[in-house]
Symmetry: D2
Subunit: 242 residues, 4 copies
């Protein structure tokens, strides 16, 4: 009786999401060169609740988390999402898994670059399963002239590319990184041609978008290109229409 009244008082209010953030676990990720690599992931898990949902359900959330404690991986995303959706009577369930992926640069032993890429795997279940992969690729400034010393000297950081892709078919993280880094190289080359300006966020966006579009394994994508400057940055954001 009291509950119904308190609900009538606040017809405009509804809890939309409840969840847990930044739980860290060691995980294993598929690696093209070595079949798997060990890294650390940080998890966000939350559900969208329906409009007239009453009461506290964090306890059911905790039950699910405890059952999968330390064993949450992309392989059982679907099972956990389904259980979250059922147990919490939710409209949708979400898992975000953030981790750092390392590229083993076997061909490039002279390179000091640690080749460290921040990634997020975002799985969600509403009526259908949905999987989005977000990749952060740092962009450095290529050397304009050959160094006398042969040192892997750096000219500094140009900026970064954050791409979010949905897949039609499986693709290695390594291959997606290569795709984007090749597009960066092409954009750098075009910008260094006589009569051209320095590489802009728009030109790099278009170059990468073109490469992503041509890759058959990718169903759709959005991307953001950011150029660091002293005290500010410029950016351009693009997304595929699909």
């Amino acid at each position: 009786m009291k509950d119904i009244q308190s609900q009538e008082d606040h017809r405009r209010i509804n809890i939309k999401k409840v969840g847990v953030k930044t739980i860290s676990y060691p995980i294993t990720v598929l690696d093209k060169a070595h079949s798997q690599q060990n890294t650390i992931a940080s998890f966000n898990m939350y559900v969208n609740l329906p409009h007239h949902f009453k009461g506290t359900h964090m306890s059911r959330f905790v039950e699910i988390l405890n059952r999968y404690h330390g064993a949450i991986d992309i392989g059982n995303f679907h099972n956990i999402l389904q259980e979250m959706k059922d147990k919490l009577e939710a409209e949708a369930a979400h898992i975000e898994m953030s981790f750092v992926y390392f590229l083993s640069d076997a061909d490039n032993a002279d390179n000091l670059k640690s080749r460290r890429y921040e990634c997020i795997m975002h799985g969600s279940l509403e009526k259908e399963n949905d999987l989005e992969f977000i990749l952060n690729v740092p962009v450095s400034i290529p050397l304009a002239k050959q160094m006398a010393t042969g040192l892997p000297q750096s000219l500094g950081q140009w900026g970064r590319v954050v791409s979010a892709v949905k897949f039609r078919n499986f693709i290695w993280i390594e291959d997606l990184i290569t795709l984007i880094e090749k597009a960066v190289d092409i954009a750098h080359e075009k910008a260094s041609a006589p009569g051209e300006n320095s590489m802009s966020v728009e030109s790099l966006s278009h170059q990468i978008a073109q490469s992503l579009e041509e890759e058959k394994a990718i169903k759709s994508f959005s991307l953001k290109v950011e150029n660091l400057a002293e005290g500010y940055s410029t950016f351009a954001a693009i997304e595929s229409l699909a």
Copy 2:
């Protein structure tokens, strides 16, 4: 000719947003107690571009920024937004102004609390002007027992409340802070009653939502309540239906 072709090749691609991020300037904010206070703001300025927009327009952006250089304030948000929209032939224009607001705690000289609140003012112009104010209120843990020493000792941090409101009428930042902090006090009191659990993210969400709903100057709102724990946090998010 070449341009048209390259466009036909990439029909699925469109630049959605271009802009500039984290330009910092000192600004002046209205303050109920002292009429104004000086603080530092960080600005993001960007536009949504139409589908078939061709070419680079960062130069026009820079012209606008240079004209208002160091004098961007909420008072001229509308003028800058209109100019951004016109000059860049954009569908929508956005300014996000992040700053820290300090509460002068005249009544409370014994209090070490610096009463520092992170705020964002987000102005946008599409067909109509729209203004959203985002306020971050830290939540501490009240002392369960009276301290013998009378020291302003802390038991630590419980979490924080991030609320985003749109206004019907003018309201002082100070009054919005007071509204939320009073709701936090009520929720703390309810949770400390015999037979009750410790304050949950859901119960605090509902308490604050109720207070925001009752404030006539507020047209609509969304809010997120976060409880820090060791190694993770829990959260609940609510929004008004309006």
Copy 3:
């Protein structure tokens, strides 16, 4: 000739340190429960150079880094330090390895806590080898009353303990964590006794210092205890005389 002159012009100047910061690699750490765990480390490597050292030696640095590329571990700290000292004709060589250590909480399956500890291993070689281990232990607020629901609910964060220890004998990371967390429990208990105030940074410092002092495997230590409050924090720092 020119070099000697330029040196005479600036007799007051000497380069003290050169090095490389935040190179990340996956590493393996000894783990009491599972014999080893995979985690990610970030490395700083630098040398102290003598007063009248002339010229650029980053190239020699890079040679060493490339030779140990991706295989820097506590097991070969001494070899790398010796090589850094020799090749760079340095007075001292340093490696700082930062990583996150996870505790597998087998006894405590109901616990949402991810038990994640930030650690730094700092090896240095001047005349002798020296190894210091720095451990960051978060301190939460214990529940004052038994929860009806039995949920692992949190009251929030009290603060943290950062301890830096040098060892006489080997000690597991796990055992050092347990030593500190037990001291925190004792300090919490003492503070909750009738007539006592809430736990202070000084009382917690003394409790932990006493426990570290009693551990025979520890040669010397320093520690810093920090209590988070709303908008500021208080701290106390202690070190052993040894």
Copy 4:
């Protein structure tokens, strides 16, 4: 009696520092162009305590803080430090005031650069007063060729210079910034001469050290130059012998 015993048990332990961190207040800083500017400072205040000091003194600390609440400025550093030293019977007292200084770039209206510099003023009182000023100057990458469009386009970030100076005579923050930025320009020019490599952390360190040495108002200094790269950074640190 009990106190003496507990002290004998722990002869190796002494509390070295107690204090308060990151209290934020708006402050006013002297500005060459406009006589003063408003900004926000974050304060750390702490004391070094003698070896056999007994008991908790945070309450005296809080009394001092409350008396100067919101009015801590470089003008009354000495008075606050003296009071901290006396009331807490301390060996030394410290205030660290961190703030952001903005350069009003009147001559350079076309420049998007917000010219934002992080600064720390560190005052300490042991037997004598001591004042150290720490300045963070970001270093960008100069354009190699004149841009056709005349846009203030950026090539990215090279790194940063952190200098800590003690003064013989008063010097404007603005003049210290100019001194360092001129040294950066000279180092960039030297590095772009035919046959030269890109600017190294060592060469930039030497160039800035030379300029600081020649400035009569500066008594002594230390500086650290850092070059950002993809995934790591290199650095060189120098200090004057004085």
